[in-house]
């Protein structure tokens, strides 16, 4: 009886161990050497540290949580963003983004005013901004709030960022020939092999960084919208994600 109990207990412990290491079957794998065509399903965990100090997001791409590439993004109330990229090679990149001191904080009347001015100026060039405005106007909380244009501005920036990131990803694929040339410029076969590995790792990391950013950007947007309006319905978010913005938004800078 004792041995059966021990056996069952061991099984449960081992099973739980595997389960914890494998939290979601729908997470992605990375495969293939063709950087541009690697496909992922994002395993996204949004963890909000509900304090006055920071918001925190974790974006992973690996099949097993903790083994793949990861982005930990922390944002302080003052707008300072710290992004820590962790790559499968063990390499860590820490990126600190300091906000322009002349840019007011989201949720302030000054930001709203600048956002409205920017909308009036930019809508003439980027007509899809009208579509974004139409969507926000169908979101009662945003329409009733005093921050309608702040939301429009945030969506504008997000969609422009996604377009830019897509371009960066496509650029990596398009530059395969340049990468090949760089490798074949080394005549010594042993050194060429080393060069090949070095170039491959570099390009692979660049691509991973782009995918992590592409996964994180919509989550950051959602967090900011929730803070601005109290909630942000999924249908509104989905509709915004269909709007293509090709223009590069200008920085919101106060006088």
């Amino acid at each position: 009886m004792k041995s059966v109990f021990l056996l069952v207990l061991t099984c449960v412990v081992v099973f739980l161990f595997f389960k914890i290491r494998q939290p979601d079957l729908k997470s992605s794998s990375f495969g293939g050497k063709l950087i541009g065509s690697v496909l992922t399903n994002h395993l996204v965990k949004i963890e909000t540290v509900d304090s006055n100090i920071r918001t925190r997001r974790i974006e992973t791409l690996g099949f097993l949580a903790g083994t793949g590439p990861m982005l930990i993004s922390e944002e302080s109330e003052s707008g300072i963003i710290t992004n820590v990229y962790q790559f499968p090679s063990g390499k860590l990149i820490t990126e600190v983004v300091l906000p322009n001191p002349k840019t007011p904080l989201l949720g302030s009347a000054e930001y709203e005013m600048l956002a409205e001015q920017d909308y009036i100026k930019s809508a003439a060039v980027e007509t899809n901004l009208l579509e974004i405005k139409e969507i926000f106007e169908e979101f009662p909380l945003a329409k009733k709030s005093q921050y309608l244009y702040s939301g429009i501005r945030e969506a504008y920036v997000l969609r422009a960022k996604i377009y830019r990131l897509q371009d960066s990803g496509l650029l990596i694929s398009a530059q395969q020939d340049i990468v090949e040339k760089e490798i074949w410029s080394v005549s010594d076969p042993v050194k060429r092999e080393l060069k090949s590995k070095e170039v491959y790792n570099r390009v692979h990391e660049e691509a991973l960084k782009i995918w992590l950013e592409m996964g994180d950007a919509p989550n950051r947007f959602k967090q900011r919208m929730e803070r601005l309006y109290g909630e942000f319905p999924k249908p509104i978010f989905q509709r915004l994600m269909s709007i293509e913005i090709t223009a590069e938004p200008e920085e919101l800078v106060g006088p």
Binding site: L7, T10, S28, G31, N41, F63, F237, Q238
Partner: protein, 255 residues
């Protein structure tokens, strides 16, 4: 006694490892499958866009021949005239299964395809397929119709074609950038200016073509969904377009 317990634990561990391999699978196996699916699906674009790369490096050569098409060719012929005086003819030949679009047979094939990629899939599942279905669930006309999965399939085709067009747009801009770099090295000023003008005119015409294709893809998708459900509210269409599938759904197994 201890020996027996150890043996049992060992056996238990082996069983669990085997179960893990079967149910969770090693990422390398998934990688292979993913790339296989991708290479297969790339050649299975449901709407048969003629391969742009064959024509886009020499637009002048792709000007439509004046003779009419042989009567046995089915499809839609679109002729585009651009501000640069370029004329482009594009023939879109739908895949044969679209002959039965809007019928219970097509619905059954689309449903089978959807299930083979989701509940019946042995491999990683693109959860965005479920997202698409969720959006249709908020659309009573689709839910009351008998063509829910035909709509999902049509949406997948639209979004995947849009992604291809996006790639064409990028390729054109990238090629133009490289051509301009090369042209700038020409020493003779007159020759250089003339070449630069030609490159700009050609890439501008190409971009106009792709923008037209984009609009056409959106309109065709919208019209097909209206054909299925009698109506299509703009918010629903936007939400559907806001969901990006990792892979095309592949061809239906139509004989």
């Amino acid at each position: 006694m201890n020996k027996r317990i150890l043996i049992r634990i060992g056996v238990c561990l082996l069983i669990l490892s085997a179960l893990r391999l079967v149910f969770f699978g090693p990422s390398s196996r998934l990688n292979v499958i993913e790339s296989t699916i991708q290479s297969e699906s790339q050649s299975n674009i449901a709407v048969g866009l003629s391969p742009i790369f064959n024509v886009n490096h020499d637009l002048v050569g792709s000007v439509a021949p004046m003779e009419s098409e042989p009567p046995e060719v089915e499809g839609i012929t679109n002729t585009y005239s651009f501000s640069s005086n370029h004329v482009v003819t594009r023939v879109v030949i739908p895949n044969p299964e679209f002959k039965i679009f809007g019928t219970p047979k097509f619905e059954s094939l689309a449903k089978t395809q959807f299930e083979s990629l989701t509940i019946n899939s042995k491999y990683i599942v693109d959860t965005n397929l479920y997202e698409l279905r969720e959006v249709f669930r908020d659309f009573p006309a689709a839910m009351n119709s008998q063509f829910l999965y035909s709509g999902i399939y049509q949406t997948a085709i639209t979004t995947c074609t849009l992604r291809e067009v996006r790639q064409f747009i990028f390729n054109t801009r990238y090629q133009a950038m490289r051509d301009l770099e090369e042209a700038n090295t020409i020493t003779d000023a007159a020759e250089r200016e003339s070449k630069i003008e030609r490159i700009k005119a050609m890439s501008s015409a190409q971009l106009e073509l792709y923008e037209s294709m984009r609009q056409e893809t959106l309109e065709d998708g919208r019209q097909n969904l209206i054909k299925l459900y009698g109506e299509l509210p703009k918010p629903i269409f936007q939400r559907l377009l806001g969901i990006e599938l990792r892979l095309p759904m592949g061809r239906l197994s139509y004989p």
